[in-house]
């Protein structure tokens, strides 16, 4: 299958592209050819097999379908479209008609990556690829190889965006298995603030290989919501890299609800004193879905804090993987870090592998992590049933409560409510109206 990527790469080459991009792409495809798809013998992929992706052929989506994709369809498929600026992509191609970039404060640059490559090449050259490492990560290298489209957001010093920026990635191959390699680059200058909502949805079987990079300048405050609601026969691989400067705050909410196979690699480097990272996550899978969350918090400098809470609900024959690494480098004294992974198993066939890692090379630190796995507490179910609530509803209420912990941390109200509704509907088919 590697050959088909090579051919697709050659076909997608654009001689008009800036020189640095052509070099990056070339390096990417070479790196990918050298690495190949990861396999389960690798520690990082011990519990997740990408065989279903490696053994299939995917086509790069053409831009012809873009025109056929309508506003109604977007609203039907998207989880929640809030008022405010948005960029919409279909099969990796920018959809200008459905996008809305009005009302952005002066100086803010928010556009498709393809456009930015023409207009902001210098900024892209300086920042692209700096937050994620493709050295031993085949999927990042593959994304590099097809680096053409995606979104670019630049926040000048001190800008505060009043509304969230929504990025909607839709995959819809109309029968063909499409692949997209979207790349998102956010450059937030000092003291800027923004909320970014990335949503991935689609129909049918397809493969999304996304890379998101965020460079948070001094004192920048970035809230990043990633909503993965891909179709249940889709494959989703996402690599997110964040580099944080002094006193910056990065908050991530990662929700994995869809896809047959989903893998998130979220890494943040606390690269200067006073930086803080908060990573929240919820994965809720059933059937034969497989979801894998890898997070890596790199405490590179002293006086940084991080907090992480990932919760998982596994039903049916689904499989969950959590791998959370906290690295405290030799001089990162006064680090404070907390990590927690809680899992709820609803069926006998579901499976969870969790591996919270602490790697600490500094002494003056406070780090702890915890992981729990269990099923619903029989006493709690009994309590509800003794009050006349039937067993199924009682279980749903308790599961909902378990999940809403994470959802409640999101500040975007319409989205939060929509998610709560969705979770409730999923737990109680047919009772959505009551929510």
């Amino acid at each position: 299958m590697l050959a088909s990527y090579q051919q697709a790469y050659e076909r997608s080459l654009d001689p008009k592209a800036p020189a640095f991009l052509r070099e990056r792409r070339q390096a990417g495809i070479e790196r990918f050819a050298a690495l190949g798809f990861p396999n389960r013998r690798m520690e990082e992929w011990k519990y997740t097999s990408v065989e279903p992706i490696a053994s299939r052929e995917f086509q790069l989506g053409g831009d012809k379908e873009v025109a056929r994709f309508t506003l109604e369809e977007m609203h039907r498929m998207a989880f929640c479209v809030m008022p405010g600026p948005r960029l919409v992509f279909l099969n990796g191609h920018f959809h200008p008609a459905l996008s809305d970039l009005s009302g952005l404060p002066a100086g803010v640059r928010c556009k498709s990556l393809a456009q930015a490559l023409q207009e902001d090449a210098a900024s892209l050259e300086a920042h692209l690829g700096r937050q994620v490492d493709s050295k031993d990560r085949a999927f990042v290298a593959l994304n590099d190889a097809f680096l053409q489209n995606g979104a670019y957001l630049f926040l000048p010093r001190g800008t505060v965006l009043p509304q969230p920026i929504q990025l909607l990635f839709v995959s819809h191959g109309n029968g063909t298995a499409v692949v997209s390699h979207p790349r998102v680059l956010v450059v937030a200058e000092a003291q800027s603030q923004a909320t970014l909502i990335e949503t991935y949805v689609g129909q049918g079987a397809y493969f999304t290989n996304a890379v998101t990079e965020i460079a948070a300048g001094e004192g920048a405050v970035i809230e990043h919501i990633k909503l993965q609601g891909e179709s249940e026969s889709a494959f989703h691989i996402a690599s997110i890299g964040v580099r944080q400067s002094r006193d910056s705050q990065y908050t991530s909410h990662s929700l994995s609800l869809g896809a047959a196979l989903a893998r998130n690699d979220l890494g943040t480097v606390l690269d200067a004193e006073g930086a803080g990272a908060t990573l929240n996550g919820l994965y809720m899978v059933s059937g034969s879905q497989h979801v894998d969350n890898h997070t890596n918090i790199d405490h590179a400098k002293p006086h940084c804090t991080s907090a992480e809470l990932y919760k998982g609900i596994l039903d049916g024959k689904s499989q969950g993987v959590f791998n959370g690494r906290i690295l405290v480098r030799p001089d990162a004294q006064k680090t404070s870090s907390q990590q927690s992974n809680k899992n709820l198993i609803l069926s006998d066939d579901a499976l969870i592998n969790t591996k919270p890692l602490l790697e600490i090379y500094a002494n003056d630190v406070k780090c702890n992590h915890g992981a729990t796995i269990g099923r619903l507490d029989a006493n709690q179910v009994f309590y509800l049933r003794s009050r006349g609530i039937d067993a199924a509803l009682a279980r749903s209420i308790l599961t909902y409560a378990f999940a809403s912990d994470v959802v409640a941390l999101m500040r975007q109200e319409p989205l939060r409510e929509r998610l709560q509704q969705w979770i409730f509907a999923r737990l109680m088919p047919g009772k959505e109206a009551a929510a």
Partner: protein
């Protein structure tokens, strides 16, 4: 603060107490490893053919294996052909009683605080003393025999109880298990063998004391403990080695089998020579320890205090096969200077309502690197399995590291498991509190560290608990800033 540190550092500089060498006539076989060596070792011990076959199978399998690299410890490559695989003190005839044991060896054990002769009368702990490759004496044999308990050296067991050995050898750690266990299976020289018959509660602690004396040798011993239905045994293990600039390999295998309602308690105080302050020399302690709770309601409990060795790499594990069986793991691992430790446990839940508890305390000082690596695996059939894991690390000094790598694999929804880990340094407010009440910094640190480890120490038998506390304070003094 710095002055106290200097004073403390001087104390840390204390030489390793057990670093002396006994000069004694040795019976050595040539250096290197090949089939002839394996045959020679077997011949030296007059082993029956089944043992030799087993050794050769292991050796041939070992040749196909590769040394593992996934561990979080670093060491130069070992040349397996540069080791003497067998070295034994020369004895004219097999000693019939302890009085006949070479006086030099008895003196060595006296120096180590284990007087083979007096031990019998004074402490009431039965000891099997292993000197380099062979067992030199076992105390209390007679008394134990009356109860049907077999406690002897492994070579003796092979000759006198071949059926038991045949039945249980390799049943928990097969010869093909891992690189070092396979090597051990091929060349193991001696060790201890314990069999507790049905319904017998062993009246005293059984203990093995391992001593490496000869240079350029590896020690490969094998311990097999079988507790038959309804029996109980508590077993202690201690070890020391001389101070040398070279690194010596110690690759042991310990197998425990607990049948229905049986209980085995296995305690280790590991104090191999850790190398000097620059990290030169010391023992590579690459050990495979595993227990199988084969019967219902059985219990295996591991307690270890790891203060020695240049590199410690071991995971005492429990296979919880019988329903309602219980596995426990209590560990204190200390790394100072350039010591490295990658240790933890594996709890494999197979039977219903199996329970396991893991309490691991890691202390790193100097340039020490301390890794906890553990696996909790709950299989599909392990209905109602329960695990509680707690891994705490204490850091002293800014050059050391503490790492926690727990692997948790759950395939049963009724399972409940909790894992918790914390890493911190000794609280300045705790130190201040103690100092304010007139307790010196050194004593305060000792007190806090002992408190940190208390959960594990209380699991140790009396004799060991005192030794462990002392050992800990010597290992750590001077490492607090």
């Amino acid at each position: 603060m710095t002055e106290t540190n200097q004073a403390l550092e001087e104390i840390t500089g204390q030489e390793y107490k057990y670093g002396f060498v006994t000069s004694i006539e040795e019976d050595r076989i040539p250096k290197g490893l090949n089939e002839d060596i394996v045959r020679l070792i077997s011949a030296k011990k007059n082993e029956p053919p089944f043992m030799l076959e087993w050794r050769l199978r292991a050796y041939r399998h070992w040749l196909t294996m590769q040394e593992p690299t996934w561990q979080n410890v670093r060491y130069p490559k070992i040349d397996y052909n540069d080791i003497y695989y067998y070295s034994a003190p020369k004895q004219k005839a097999k000693p019939k009683s302890l009085d006949e044991v070479d006086p030099e060896i008895r003196e060595t054990f006296n120096k180590l605080g284990i007087s083979l002769a007096e031990q019998e009368r004074l402490t009431g702990v039965a000891v099997d003393a292993v000197f380099d490759s062979v067992s030199v004496g076992t105390t209390f044999k007679g008394k134990l025999k009356e109860m049907g308990i077999i406690f002897c050296s492994f070579s003796e067991a092979v000759l006198e109880h071949p059926d038991l050995v045949k039945k249980y050898l390799g049943s928990v750690v097969p010869y093909s298990d891992n690189y070092f266990a396979t090597l051990n299976s091929a060349v193991f020289s001696d060790g201890s063998f314990v069999y507790i018959p049905k319904g017998v509660r062993c009246p005293m602690e059984l203990s093995t004391y391992f001593r490496i004396n000869a240079s350029e040798t590896g020690q490969f011993e094998r311990t097999l403990i079988v507790a038959d239905e309804g029996s109980y045994v508590s077993y202690l293990e201690g070890c020391t080695a001389p101070m040398r600039d070279e690194n010596q390999l110690h690759a042991a295998v310990v197998e425990l089998v607990a049948l229905g309602d049986a209980q085995i308690k296995y305690s280790t105080v590991q104090n191999w020579y850790p190398g000097d302050k620059e990290g030169k020399g010391g023992i590579y302690n690459f050990v495979t320890k595993r227990g199988k709770c084969a019967g219902e309601n059985s219990k295996i409990s591991w307690t270890q205090v790891e203060t020695g060795s240049a590199i410690t790499w071991k995971y005492p594990s429990c296979i919880l096969q019988g329903d309602n069986s219980v596995g426990e793991f209590y560990s204190v691992a200390v790394t100072n200077n350039y010591q490295q430790a990658d240790t933890g446990t594996k709890m494999i839940h197979i039977g219903k309502n199996t329970r396991s508890t893991i309490v691991s305390k890691g202390i790193s000082a100097g340039h020490g690197q301390n890794t906890y690596r553990g696996l909790v695996k709950i299989n599909k059939g392990a209905e109602g399995a329960r695990n509680y894991s707690q891994c705490d690390s204490l850091l002293m000094g800014d050059k050391c590291g503490a790492h926690t790598f727990p692997y948790i694999e759950i395939k049963n929804s009724s399972a409940q498991m909790e894992h918790e880990a914390t890493t911190s340094k000794i609280g300045e407010d705790q130190l201040f509190y103690c100092k304010q009440r007139g307790i010196s910094e050194e004593d305060a640190v000792n007190m806090i560290v002992n408190g940190f480890c208390k959960q594990v120490f209380k699991e140790l038998p009396m004799e060991f608990a005192v030794e462990a506390q002392k050992l800990l304070s010597v290992s750590l003094e001077g490492s607090v800033g």
